[in-house]
């Protein structure tokens, strides 16, 4: 089927993008000033010890060699040693990535579903108080940084009206033997439903805080594209042919109008990872964004490259996913790419 050809083509292009990304990450990580070996060992270490570590880290070799050496081990799943935690970076990532992934996925779902829903609602009630109200909310949502929402939600739902947990991934004492590392998924897989519910409830506030910007943006895009499209010839024609308002609105108007919103989602996933840092810090969420920023401050090259690599990889996967979604909705994308 044409959708398969589309997916294959799209995936191949992503591989090219990944190679490009790896080169950029590697170059950036090697041109930052400062000696990583010295940083790791501290100012009091002897010159010999620093030199030994430099050799161990292959920092004395030519840069091209360093790149291929790095790529080869990355492909084996080995990002080297973290100078910050003195553990294997891969082990660190196994702990932190699932937490962030869980957060970002839930946030993406919330912003996509509710963003489009609010946009549709605003269009359906165009010109009424509901519409104005939703539009004001959307303005506020777009211009307010997500950490403000995080603090606000925390105060509101954690302290003023304590109905939702505000710290960590689960309540104290609850947990599950990891499979994927995503607690909600793991506890469902292990049929431990109380833990699943507990972990999900813990996700709600940070994920919603993270989703607010994108949700507001999607609501605005959906509303404006629906209103734009509603004066198109084909909608007028469908009205003139006597199709019901409901059929026109929910079928013939909605589908072409969500395309721009879904396309924007691909870009927003990058912003989700970026904003996750502050949200994770506020909600004490042991995630990758926080780990990445700490590693950067520590000049922990291996960890930083690993984090960027992983985030880049996830971003590319998410983009493929969004593109497939767009291709399913929009036959023009699906069929033209297959030619």
């Amino acid at each position: 089927m044409e959708i398969f050809r589309f997916i294959c083509k799209r995936t191949l292009w992503s591989l090219v993008a990944l190679v490009g990304l790896s080169i950029i990450i590697f170059t950036l990580s090697r041109v930052v000033p400062g000696d990583p070996a010295r940083m790791a060992l501290g100012p009091r270490a002897t010159e010999e010890a620093v030199e030994a570590l430099r050799i161990e880290l292959k920092l004395d070799q030519p840069i091209i060699y360093q790149y291929f050496h790095w790529i080869a081990s990355v492909l084996k799943g080995d990002f080297g040693l973290s100078l910050m935690t003195m553990r294997s970076v891969t082990d660190d990532i196994k702990i932190y990535l699932p937490a962030t992934l869980e957060l970002v996925i839930v946030a993406a779902i919330i912003q996509c579903v509710f963003g489009i829903l609010l946009g549709v609602l605003a269009t359906a009630s165009q010109g009424s108080y509901m519409d104005y109200f939703l539009r004001i909310i959307a303005y506020i949502g777009v211009v307010t940084p997500s950490f403000v929402f995080a603090v606000l939600f925390m105060l509101l739902f954690g302290y003023k009206l304590p109905i939702l947990p505000v710290l960590g991934r689960t309540s104290v004492g609850l947990g599950v033997q990891p499979i994927t590392g995503m607690i909600v998924v793991d506890s469902i897989l292990r049929c431990d439903f109380p833990v699943a519910v507990d972990a999900f409830v813990h996700l709600l506030l940070p994920a919603t805080a993270l989703a607010m910007n994108g949700m507001a943006q999607l609501a605005r895009i959906t509303r404006s594209s629906m209103i734009d499209n509603s004066e198109r010839d084909y909608i007028v024609m469908e009205t003139a042919q006597g199709l019901s308002k409901k059929e026109i609105f929910f079928k013939y108007l909605l589908r072409p109008s969500v395309i721009p919103a879904v396309s924007v989602l691909a870009l927003q996933i990058g912003a989700l990872f970026a904003n996750a840092f502050l949200v994770e810090s506020i909600f004490n969420w042991p995630g990758l964004s926080r780990y990445g920023v700490e590693a950067m401050l520590f000049k922990d090259l291996n960890a930083v490259s690993a984090v960027i690599c992983i985030v880049g990889f996830v971003f590319i996967i998410a983009n493929i996913f969004v593109d497939i979604l767009v291709a399913i909705i929009d036959p023009r994308v699906r069929l033209k790419a297959g030619e």
Partner: protein
């Protein structure tokens, strides 16, 4: 031909609210149509043909307002309830849109779109149907408009088809189920001459076999001359002359109609057509008197001050001009 009046339009006015002010496009448009009649609507671009059609179906843009009576079978379209309106659109009137490239929904197959139209029609008539019946009707309509390989076209998306094919799909959509009145807005513009002739033949056939009435908006005087019973000449949102096709072509009496006819390059080869000097009226502040007066070489004080009314010129042939008996 029966002579039951099907449609009577009385003093139809349409305004568009735009940034610069209020555009008064249709100005006291009045005409009527009997069952089985074919009426041509002719005028240069921007004269309000599409606006007239959209007003008849109450599908004007949101910045438009429409005043006046549109009596369809005695019911005023402008005062109909939503259900009556829906029924009228589903079973009585239908419109072929002018621009085939933008009149089909880009993300649905042709089949889905035409089926929706047929389904709505059958529902309104209270006929029981299966999805197969609908597909059969759709395929028949597609082959009626001379589309090759209707099965393939049924499953295609609009962007996979040529402009001419899309135009014929728009036509098929409007004639797939029987209607009493067809509003055809330039149904031949993106078709080549042979196909255009065949499509017009098809419409003619429908008129003969089903007793359907047609209003045909077009720039082409040749088409009008061959396929209509009466012609309505429009200038700047007003009807300036209306009458039986034969009498109007034989005896054009409004200066605009004459100029229009003079524009058609003569087959005898008297060189290039002259065109009509001057610009189209400004709808934002139209002249108080005759709208054609600024471009008219016969005008006098009267034309400047008062608007000429449609008056009987000869048998069933009306003209709106102070100097018509020139």
């Amino acid at each position: 031909m029966s002579s039951e009046v099907l449609l009577e339009v009385k003093d139809l006015n349409v305004y568009y609210r735009v940034y610069e002010g209020l555009m008064h496009v249709l100005d006291d448009v009045s005409f009527s149509l009997v069952e089985g009649e074919r009426l041509g609507l002719v005028g240069e671009t921007g004269c309000g043909k599409t606006t007239t059609f959209r007003a008849l179906l109450r599908v004007l843009d949101s910045n438009a307002s429409s005043k006046g009576d549109i009596l369809y079978k005695g019911c005023n379209v402008n005062k109909m309830s939503q259900t009556e309106l829906l029924n009228t659109r589903r079973t009585e009137m239908s419109m072929i849109f002018q621009d085939p490239t933008s009149s089909l929904n880009p993300v649905f197959t042709v089949g889905e779109q035409i089926s929706s139209v047929i389904r709505a029609n059958l529902q309104a008539k209270g006929i029981n149907y299966s999805e197969n019946d609908i597909k059969d009707i759709a395929l028949k309509a597609l082959s009626d408009v001379l589309l090759p390989d209707p099965e393939r076209i049924f499953d295609s998306y609009p962007f996979q088809l040529s402009g001419g094919m899309r135009q014929r799909i728009c036509i098929a959509m409007s004639v797939a189920t029987e209607r009493k009145l067809l509003l055809a807005d330039e149904p031949g513009t993106s078709l080549d001459v042979t196909i255009q002739a065949q499509i017009l033949g098809l419409l003619n056939n429908l008129v003969k076999t089903t007793g359907m009435s047609v209003i045909l908006a077009t720039h082409s005087l040749g088409v009008v001359r061959e396929t209509t019973d009466r012609v309505c000449i429009m200038y700047g949102g007003e009807i300036v002359e209306i009458g039986p096709t034969r009498s109007l072509f034989a005896n054009p009496s409004h200066p605009y109609t004459r100029a229009l006819l003079a524009c058609v390059p003569k087959l005898t080869g008297e060189g290039i057509a002259e065109g009509i000097p001057g610009e189209m009226v400004s709808y934002l502040n139209p002249p108080k008197g005759c709208r054609f007066q600024p471009r008219c070489s016969f005008c006098n004080e009267d034309c400047n001050r008062t608007k000429p009314k449609l008056t009987l010129y000869e048998d069933d042939h009306y003209v709106a001009c102070h100097k018509a008996d020139l």
